[in-house]
Subunit: 199 residues, 4 copies
């Protein structure tokens, strides 16, 4: 039961974050296509943030799926992750309003980095408390995607002060790394569940 409530609460928060970002797409006064143009940078940033939140939702989903037991010790790391995700709409708006400027681009990366760290903490706490759960350990493995993402965020934050557009490209690249399905985890999930039961 604890597990399903943590999932439901996290789903709720991410679902709200993903939708309130749209509220930042301020409806233009004009009725022609031209009046949509100033929204373009915000829209593109919205799409990227949507993908990032989607990635977090998917990964969170897989992580908890493979976890046997949620204990009280996992609740705060989970809330800590949601805290950093909750700042995504804010930095999305700021970067969308000021495309290709150093500080908003760097702060966007900073929030992604902190969310990445928070996710790693949650993952570590779950592995610790879920005991010697070999399936989860195997599925997470060396977590090279997580490590390389955080390295790339740090690089992007530094580059943001020189060439913000390159930082943007890195953020997009990291998103693409994650969009490619993680075959290993998928296969573990399939094995562990069998295929006789919906799930």
């Amino acid at each position: 039961m604890t597990k399903s409530r943590v999932e439901a609460f996290s789903d709720g928060v991410v679902a709200i974050l993903i939708t309130i970002m749209v509220l930042e797409l301020k409806v233009p006064h004009g009725a022609d296509l031209e009046s949509l143009r100033p929204l373009l940078p915000t829209f593109v940033t919205y799409v990227m943030s949507y993908i990032y939140l989607g990635i977090y939702w998917n990964n969170h989903h897989h992580l908890l799926h493979i976890t046997n037991r949620i204990t009280g010790a996992m609740l705060w790391p989970n809330l800590y992750l949601l805290f950093w995700l909750s700042l995504v709409p804010f930095v999305t708006s700021w970067m969308g309003d000021n495309p290709f400027t150093p500080m908003p681009t760097a702060v966007y990366g900073f929030v992604l980095l902190m969310a990445g760290i928070a996710y790693t903490i949650l993952q570590t706490v779950i592995i610790q408390h879920d005991g010697a759960h070999p399936r989860l350990k195997a599925a997470v493995g060396s977590d090279w995607k997580g490590k390389i993402s955080m390295l790339l965020y740090i690089v992007a934050i530094a580059i943001a002060f020189v060439r913000p557009i390159v930082a943007d490209a890195i953020y997009l690249g990291v998103a693409l790394i994650w969009l490619v399905p993680d075959r290993r985890l998928e296969s573990h999930l399939t094995e562990s569940r069998g295929d006789s039961h919906p799930g």
Copy 2:
């Protein structure tokens, strides 16, 4: 479990979209009936978008109900559908603020069209991954409603540049096609579930 989380997340997003649209009904300053009049086009557009989101929620509900198993491969098509639905409040506001103007009317249709395509993709991926699931295939059938809807959206988008009001009528017509309950799907659902179990 995966299935119930996908449902819960999708329900959350649609529930939020359907309610944040109301935030666009800006409370008038006056206290007489006259001051409500400028809200009328926005209100009417709101009602139509509410019906559309209701239709998507119902169809999504039926589609997942009949699905045995949600795999990782279905998560992104589902998020892709939710992405286009997330733009409905924006285009609703824009069209509500500029009733019977070509571009907002066309863009409204474009978002409906993209949502329709996304739904078709999701449906196709589910049928593929759910194996040779005869019940689902039979229920979806030739999907004539889906095909005719998308054709009508395209027609409406083109007409929007000449007679926006005709495009609006087409959008309303498509909604009505879906409002009429799909007897075939319903009956499949009933058969498959029996009637001994709440469902």
Copy 3:
């Protein structure tokens, strides 16, 4: 499953409605108690609408609890109820901004009336489709509360044009009628569930 998704979706919509109403409590510029005073009518209206949405949530909860089976035919009546509830934040703001004025007070009552009618429709459809379900029929009984509420709303709407404050008092009175727990329904729920199982 259908039942739990309808519940989850309805819960989501009502939870969002109940919380976005708070967004209408615009944070004052001043930092003294005096600057809160203009918010008082909006706050009082917020409290009343909160109670009304709470009542609908409770009743909806009881109604679905006692229902065996949700069919497709119940989905649109449910969405129709949620539609009228979705207008509550709007009329709450309008009445809060214009306390004791005829039209906003009457429109507030109109939305309550329409929500009441929508609830009655949902209840009727459920009784019809749930077959000869004696427990539900007995629990709903003559539905005197529902009937008297709608009568009082109509009276209040008419009075709103003469003495808005009397209409407000009637709205409050109806809320109080519902706040008093419905012993009969409660007892049916308890009987039907036994007390061995959490629920």
Copy 4:
């Protein structure tokens, strides 16, 4: 089922409250770090309120986890708690806009106090209706944390009129008291559930 719906609804409301608070972080016009500075007090207040809502979510979660049965009599105390929590975003904004001023600081404490009282009422009603449930009684125990928190809120409200910053420190201190995990309750939860079942 009643229990899971009460949980789902409460989760929904808290998830929305925790995320709409971010909407108060108004995106600055400038693109430099300097333009973020005016947001700092609001951000710090946001973090504190986030922690408070997280604490309430965790405690609510534990309380309902240990409860066997939710009855109709618990629904309104639960809605009463959610009502006070729903005012947290409002007082967070007001205090964030007016840092270290007496009245907003005192009103912030007042809402915390009322939420604390509401939680105590809910807890009492649950213990009463859940019969002689020794596990819950033992877990709640003397509830010294609850009692000391409410005492500290009252002290802080009084101090707010003289030295608001001291009141802020007290609010932070109370949050820290709760952040330290409640070993006793945790251990009761673990015992009662065993460790064979996920949850």
